[in-house]
Amino acid sequence: MDYAAVVGVEIFYAVAVLVLISAGLAVIFGMMRVINLAHGEFLTLGGYAAIVSHQAGVNIYLAMLVVAPLVVAVFGVLVERLIIRWLYGRLINTMLATWGLSLAMMGAMTMIFGNTTTGIATPIAGFTFGRYQLSGYNLFVILMAIVVAVGLYLALKTTRAGLIARGAMQNAEMTSAFGYSPSRVYLITFAAGSALAGLAGGVMAPLVGLNPASGANYIAKAFITVIAGGASVVSGALASAGLFGVISQTFTLLTTPAVGEIALLVVAIILLRLLPTGITGRFFKGRV
């Protein structure tokens, strides 16, 4: 029984990680039809921001939850102005340009931080659950994923900014008719997506050994989660993160991590073959 609970937490945790690492990508893809292949490096940048600021004496929660998103959001603004804005509407070109950005960031971070693995210790101690030890930090990650998902849903659904953003995605001209410049809406959306990536990077930092190539571990999973989720930002990411998290974790527990990862990928292919516009393209049309 205790073991079942431990396994359950692990599965929730896996889903939560997928939600966290794909939220930023989902916002940018769902709202702007831009696929940011440098998303993994955005996460890594968030991780470095958290680690460096923490090592410089900033409180760890402040570093993870405030500094990391801020740094990456500012960086996102630069990227949007310098690269993305020239390529709106050209999906493949944005993918290629951001792939280039991904390589360039990886290289730049190597030059700046060196290729050593760094990290910070988790700020929350483990606790005992029956016969088992559970990581308190895993629960924190699950909590953060819930906060991100609910927050995103509410922001898009209930706030004025969310409404404008959704309007701009449907019809850019209408937004400008209302007096909002679509260019600014895009900029802010991209910054918000970047901030989410930074947040995820910050939250994940204490769990992993971070190095400039770490982003590669995330991007494929985040990318698959978002595309398989389809166009609806929150429900899509949640649905596919749920599916993939359960599958990969179940296979990992029953067999080996390699099989777990391959199972996830195989399911992704089958899913996209059957539902070529993603889960929400089929089942949750038009929802947030």
Binding site: L91, I92, L101, A104, M105, A220, I224, L272, T277
Partner: protein, 342 residues
């Protein structure tokens, strides 16, 4: 067709084959040739059939692995040479049919091909155990497969193709594949492929079975990538899962886009230049190599979205049009705009 497509390739290709080894090391040229062939494979399916495959490295790797595994089992290398072309082609035909008959395109196609590459990559990486064995060949996991037979001169089995002879062989194949592709593109099938790239719906309404045609094109591309993989295996004498990696896939796309998608020569030139650049960058440690490649890709997408080669062609026509005797030439430049298959 001969005068316009075959002859120029021969006029440039054959002398190049003999001049290049005097300027550069043959072993560097050989791997650049394999890369060029790989770029050509993606240049064909992306530039002419409109299939953006994010996982062309999968076929490259499959070709190399098929060769290595077959060579270990068969003990000779010419049978494996053909197997290395056939296996990726068949794999791509099956996989392509799965995708194209399911009407996947654009981003979704990109994702699925990428995922397929990841699967192969992860599988090969975790095949270190003893159970992963095909005949006499252990897959070897992360460390790959070393120690297989390589190609010999067909009429003299004792004489290995290596160094300069391997380069001549590889380069000859590159020229041959290039010519075959040009001829193919002039044939109704090739023209229809371009039609599909331009407008799938219209091609369908004309009565072309685009699912079948894309599958065939995909398979041809995979066969060429497999050939490139086979040459690579012969050159490196080891195959590792890195051949399937995302980085490898990224590089192929970079070669094609920098060289110029929509042309055949562009990807070849792109691969040669960038492959050599990477090699040169390895001899210095001031600036990170990955950084340079990334910046090149960003700049290429932003500034030269059509690629270096078509941009040069345009510049050439622009210059010609401004020469005093430009009048007759101007008309020709109009013609060459449509000849996208440079």
């Amino acid at each position: 067709m001969f005068a316009r497509d075959v002859l120029p390739a021969l006029i440039i290709g054959v002398p190049a084959m003999f001049v290049l080894p005097m300027l550069f090391d043959a072993y560097t040229l050989t791997v650049l040739t394999a890369y060029a062939l790989l770029a050509l494979s993606l240049g064909f399916i992306w530039g002419f059939a409109g299939i953006l495959c994010f996982g062309q490295a999968a076929f490259f790797g499959l070709g190399a692995y098929s060769f290595a595994i077959a060579a270990l089992n068969m003990g000779s290398a010419w049978g494996p040479f053909f197997i290395a072309i056939l296996v990726p082609a068949v794999f791509a035909a099956v996989f392509g049919a799965l995708l194209f008959y399911g009407r996947l395109s654009d981003v979704y196609l990109a994702v699925v091909t990428l995922v397929m590459t990841l699967i192969l990559f992860k599988f090969m990486n975790s095949s270190a155990g003893e159970i992963y064995k095909l005949g006499d060949a252990r897959l070897g996991g992360y460390n790959g497969i070393p120690g297989f037979e390589t190609l010999t001169i067909p009429w003299d089995p004792g004489e290995y193709l290596y160094d300069e002879s391997l380069f001549y062989f590889a380069f000859g194949l590159l020229v041959l594949v290039y010519i075959l592709l040009r001829v193919l593109l002039k044939m109704p099938f090739g023209r229809a492929l371009v039609g599909i790239r331009e407008n799938e719906q219209r091609a369908e309404l004309m009565g072309y079975d685009i699912r079948l045609m894309k599958t065939i094109a995909f398979s041809i591309g995979a066969a060429i990538a497999g050939l490139a993989g086979c040459l690579f295996a012969n050159w490196a004498e080891i195959v590792t899962p890195a051949l399937f990696s995302l980085g490898q896939s990224a590089e192929i796309i970079i070669w094609v886009i920098v060289g110029g998608a929509g042309t055949l020569l562009g990807p070849v030139v792109g691969a040669a230049i960038l492959g050599y650049t990477k090699f040169l960058l390895g001899q210095q440690s001031l600036i990170d190599n990955t950084f340079v490649l990334g910046v090149i890709l960003i700049l290429a997408v932003l500034l030269l979205p059509q690629g270096i080669f078509p941009s040069l062609v345009r510049l050439w026509h622009w210059l010609l049009a401004r020469l005093p005797s430009a009048a007759p030439l101007r008309r020709r430049s109009g013609r060459s705009r449509r000849d996208k298959d440079v």
